[in-house]
Amino acid sequence: MQQTETDQTMRASAVDELAADASSRKRFLKALGGTAAAGAAASLLAACGEDKRVPLTPGGSNPNTGAGAGTDQYGNGDLGIVRYAIVLEYLEADFYAAANKSGKLKGRASELAKTFGQQEDQHVKRLEEAIAKLGGQPPEKSRGEFPLDTQQQILEFAAGIESLGAAALLAQVDRIQDKELLATAISIHTVEGRHAAAIAELLGEDPAPQVFATPTQASDVLNQLHRITTGNQF
């Protein structure tokens, strides 16, 4: 049985019992709505050797080759997570700047986009400070291609990128080691959730479509971001 980082983290916690008992694991997942813990439990299963594939680290990398599909490509541990998180925040900040310049937004949509854009700028600033504190450098900014032809288009894109941003941070909260950083990440995450819900209200959609919000793992997030930065939408 391979000792991965996940394995060790789990061992230190009350989740030990769950690893030994498949039925209690199922109950736990059911209790959590089958969503929040699914990723962690999948790593747990992999770490316990039920799967022949090489278990990836929580950062999405192959521990044998170092090939990374997740936050590990941005650095180890917390630094990798923050450098990964800021990629999304850069994109959100750029998007609102472009949306506000487009002249296509009217009324409340226009007011909200201005406020949300300023808030994304503050997220960027806070994460840049966190990166510096951890002794790192921010990653290079990638340019997004945003749909800006109509208000409807802009709002639909905003709803997508805010929900993605919230889901991406949610997937990282159980991996962050520094408690102050965790407090920052979870509170940025709820603000992204607020943005997503407000935009859903403007679009006449359900502001809270899930009982338990679903996390999106880094490799999936990065695939979606790649589509945005190459001019394709969600």
Binding site: L170, V173, A183, S187, T190, R194, A196, P215
Partner: protein
């Protein structure tokens, strides 16, 4: 950003959770939802008896929200789409309650009886006002408690729930013509400001 309408909520009960919940509501009433996170964080940093302690507090919070939406649907004379929204949100809170009860039992704790709550909701206006204040308080409470949780899976679960609370808060704020995201971070005060706020709240 203060939310004095939170004073209108009565939380009965002598459990530790009920005490912290009353404190959180008092802080929210005096200083707004952003002050709740550092208050709750401090409460658990000083005397946490582990994750079950935090889960039990989260349960009392969710039971309060569930009771609030039930009272609103019954007494606030809501109609149409807003009534549907309150019904949906209440059903989501009920599922949070169920999940937390099951998790507490799983980790060897006892969910205990729900405390009794009283709310002053008599019309659409008071529903929106109090709903915003309560959901903002919930967001602050979870965000404040999360760094005190040891078990990674429980941090994930708290995150999955608090995002839904934040969405509820934003939707109700939109309906009330308020800013859906009043701050860039759902955690407004520093630790020392929070301690001052808590002292003042418990003195008042």
């Amino acid at each position: 950003l203060r939310a004095p309408e939170l004073h209108a909520i009565e939380v009965e009960g002598m459990t530790r959770s009920a005490f912290i919940l009353r404190g959180a509501l008092a802080v929210g009433a005096a200083y707004g939802g952003g002050a709740v996170a550092p208050f709750v964080s401090r409460a658990f940093a000083q005397g946490s008896q582990g994750d079950v302690d935090i889960l039990t507090f989260a349960l009392s919070l969710e039971r309060m929200e569930q009771a609030f939406y039930a009272a609103a649907v019954k007494n606030a004379k809501l109609r149409g789409e807003l009534k549907q929204l309150a019904t949906n949100f209440g059903a989501q809170e009920a599922e949070h309650v169920d999940a937390l009860e099951a998790t507490i039992e799983q980790f060897g704790g006892k969910p205990g009886e729900a405390p009794k709550f009283k709310f002053g909701v008599s019309d659409e206006g008071s529903f929106l006002e109090l709903g915003v204040a309560l959901e903002d308080t919930g967001v602050g409470a979870y965000n404040g408690a999360a760094p005190n949780i040891d078990t990674p899976d429980i941090i994930s679960a708290a995150g999955a729930i608090v995002q839904v609370e934040a969405r509820h808060a934003a939707a109700l704020r939109m309906r009330a013509d308020q800013d859906p995201a009043p701050a860039a971070f759902d955690r407004a005060l520093t630790q020392s400001q929070a301690e001052a706020a808590a002292k003042k709240a418990s003195a008042g």
